[in-house]
């Protein structure tokens, strides 16, 4: 049982015109097995929240705390956060030229498990994960995210989620750019990871359609750098009907 606690998190980013505050005091608690949807308009700071938790160097934490089972996440390096059990599925996964998917996955698994996975079981593990997400086997020899279509990048992210078995996963607009079939395949992958590892999920999205496949226990409305309303799954239905207008003050 793991708990990610975000308390009064304040984050700024450096711009040409000086530091700009993006997150203005975020409070969230995500426990193993729970799925939290964070919904909000573009520019509300949803992605900043995701990247700040993962430790992206672009963001400066100016206040508050993030802990995983009591351990100070903000004090950890990016790789230490992953080793502690956090995972970020990125909206725009990064191309790494010359590094094959298979080499990348094995290096990551070795780092997270503390030893190199046995080659025989590893090969079938990867094959199963790829099959489950309808990923062509030739994918393993391609360079990480290089020349991948939008859908391939997202499937690759969720394949990592299934292989690397984190405690808490943050999915940053995993649904963006996916057609209906790809959305279903990717969502099934997330649901498998939830069932297999009692995964806690922080699902960041702009639209409600992914919530038809991945059922949230809690919905948080995010606007102007903070959570402005919270509720159960029914809140998503209200957003579907009414949009974000009432939260952004126009």
């Amino acid at each position: 049982m793991s708990t990610l606690e975000i308390r009064n998190l304040q984050v700024s980013v450096d711009t040409e015109n000086g530091a700009v505050e993006i997150l203005k005091g975020v409070d969230l608690t995500i426990k193993s097995g729970e799925t939290h949807a964070i919904m909000g308009p573009n520019g509300s700071g949803k992605s900043t929240l995701a990247y700040s938790i993962a430790g992206h160097p672009k963001y400066t934490i100016t206040g508050g705390s993030v802990t995983l089972d009591g351990a100070d996440v903000l004090d950890m390096s990016v790789d230490e956060r992953a080793k502690a059990g956090l995972f970020l599925a990125m909206q725009y996964p990064v191309e790494v030229p010359g590094v094959s998917v298979s080499n990348f996955l094995r290096t990551a698994a070795t780092a997270l498990r503390g030893e190199a996975p046995k080659l025989r079981t590893w090969v079938s593990e990867v094959k199963d994960a790829m099959d489950a997400l309808s990923i062509d086997p030739s994918f393993a020899q391609r360079n990480v995210n290089e020349g991948f279509s939008g859908g391939e990048k997202k499937r690759h992210e969720i394949m990592q989620l299934e292989l690397l078995k984190p405690k808490i996963a943050i999915l940053d607009e995993t649904d963006s750019g996916l057609d209906v079939d790809a959305l279903r395949i990717v969502s099934e992958g997330v649901n498998r990871a939830k069932d297999a590892n009692n995964l806690g999920v922080l699902l960041i999205t702009h639209y409600t359609r992914i919530l038809r496949y991945i059922k949230p226990d809690f919905v948080h409305v995010f606007a102007n750098g903070k959570v402005v309303e919270e509720g159960g799954p029914e809140l998503a239905d209200k957003l579907e009907a009414q949009g974000y207008a009432e939260y952004v003050g126009n």
Binding site: M90, V94, A111
Partner: protein, 363 residues
């Protein structure tokens, strides 16, 4: 001792061709003050293959090469009494790479070495030249790739830290012939290589690929010249370099000349440098001189950058340590070129050397 009989102009460092090179570290190769060694370090390290010969030929028996515009190469031509000749007979297909090796000799005297690699018409071969140890070497390698032939030349500068190595690699590529070189420079104190290409028939194709990795105090210079002096020839140049540590210095010059009669030329050259730490310097100068507009294409690009923070973040967000993330990125950066070497043992050896250089500098 060397006795100079002709008047070779000694470079002073202000000349365009020498302006980057640290002359004071050349141990007298450039001004003739180095003692002349009598040893011959180049040897054939492959089992005999029919159609392939390797012998030393008195230079009187070979057509004499004219003067070059390079003082050290002129000295090589004057001081080397014989020429190592590797010959692949016409119409011979050599399936396995032919290995040439050079190993350490003392650093007190300079070896002046002439080499001719001659591939007859419609023959195909790969030559891998491995240079290891510490030495003081000036070499003048000429390739004659006859019509319809194909030569891949892999040259590996895996020197130890004291080596001073200056070389010209001049390829003469005839009609419909293909010359491909893969130049790897990851060892030595000062290495200055001059890969040049001269086309003598249309339909000729030259691909010059290279990687270099300089760490603290190392100076590696690659000065390329492709002379499009015939119509319908093609050239591609792609060199990738990484630098790490204080006073690591690399120079890449890519000169491509498309003469007035070279219609239908197709050329592109690219140099990318990765600065892994502060204090390193990468000079990159592509030059394209075009005397005819009747060409297929001509272009060049040069970039020098640092580690991409987004790549490192992505890898680290999967639990990979900063050191391993950098290692992956550097390996990935070089793999495009290293993977072109058709010998997986050599590939692995080079990648391991690059890894160990990275560990040494703690990048």
């Amino acid at each position: 001792m060397s006795v100079l009989t002709s008047n070779i102009l000694v470079p002073h460092g202000r000349e365009e061709a020498w302006r980057f090179t640290p002359l004071n570290r050349l141990k007298g190769l450039h001004d003739g003050s180095a003692a002349t060694a009598t040893h011959r370090s180049l040897s054939l390290n492959s089992s005999p293959v029919s159609g392939v010969t390797f012998e030393r030929v008195s230079r009187e028996l070979l057509p004499s090469l004219g003067a070059t515009d390079d003082a050290i190469m002129n000295r090589v031509r004057e001081l080397s009494s014989d020429v190592a000749v590797l010959k692949v007979a016409a119409n011979t297909e050599v399936s396995e790479p032919i290995h040439l090796t050079r190993k350490s000799f003392d650093l007190a005297s300079a070896e002046y070495s002439r080499v001719l690699i001659h591939v007859g018409s419609n023959a195909r071969a790969t030559v891998i030249a491995s240079n290891t140890g510490d030495t003081l070497l000036a070499e003048d390698i000429e390739f004659k790739v006859e019509s319809g032939a194909s030569l891949t030349f892999v040259t590996l500068q895996e020197w130890d830290s004291q080596t001073v190595h200056v070389a010209k690699h001049h390829a003469i590529v005839d009609k419909d012939a293909v010359f491909k070189s893969i130049t790897v420079t990851i060892g030595g104190s000062v290495v200055r290589l001059l890969p040049t290409v001269e086309f003598t028939g249309s339909g000729a194709d030259a691909q010059l690929l290279g990687v270099y990795f300089a760490t603290s105090g190392q100076f590696f210079e690659h000065r390329i010249f492709v002379d499009h002096c015939v119509p319908q020839a093609k050239s591609r140049v792609n060199y990738k370099g990484a630098l790490s540590g204080d006073k690591a210095h690399t120079v890449w010059i890519g000169d491509v000349f498309i003469r007035a009669n070279a219609e239908g030329t197709d050329t592109y050259e690219l140099n990318r440098n990765l600065l892994l730490t502060d204090g390193a310097r990468a000079d990159s100068v592509p030059n394209l001189e075009i005397e005819t507009g009747e060409i297929v294409g001509a272009g060049h690009a040069s970039t020098t950058g640092r580690f991409d923070d987004e790549q490192l973040f992505y890898l680290m967000s999967r639990g990979i340590s900063i050191e391993d993330a950098r290692r992956l990125v550097v390996r990935g950066f070089f793999s495009e070129i290293i993977n072109e070497i058709s010998d997986s043992e050599v590939q692995e050896r080079l990648m391991n050397r690059i890894d160990s250089e990275l560990i040494k500098v703690g990048a």
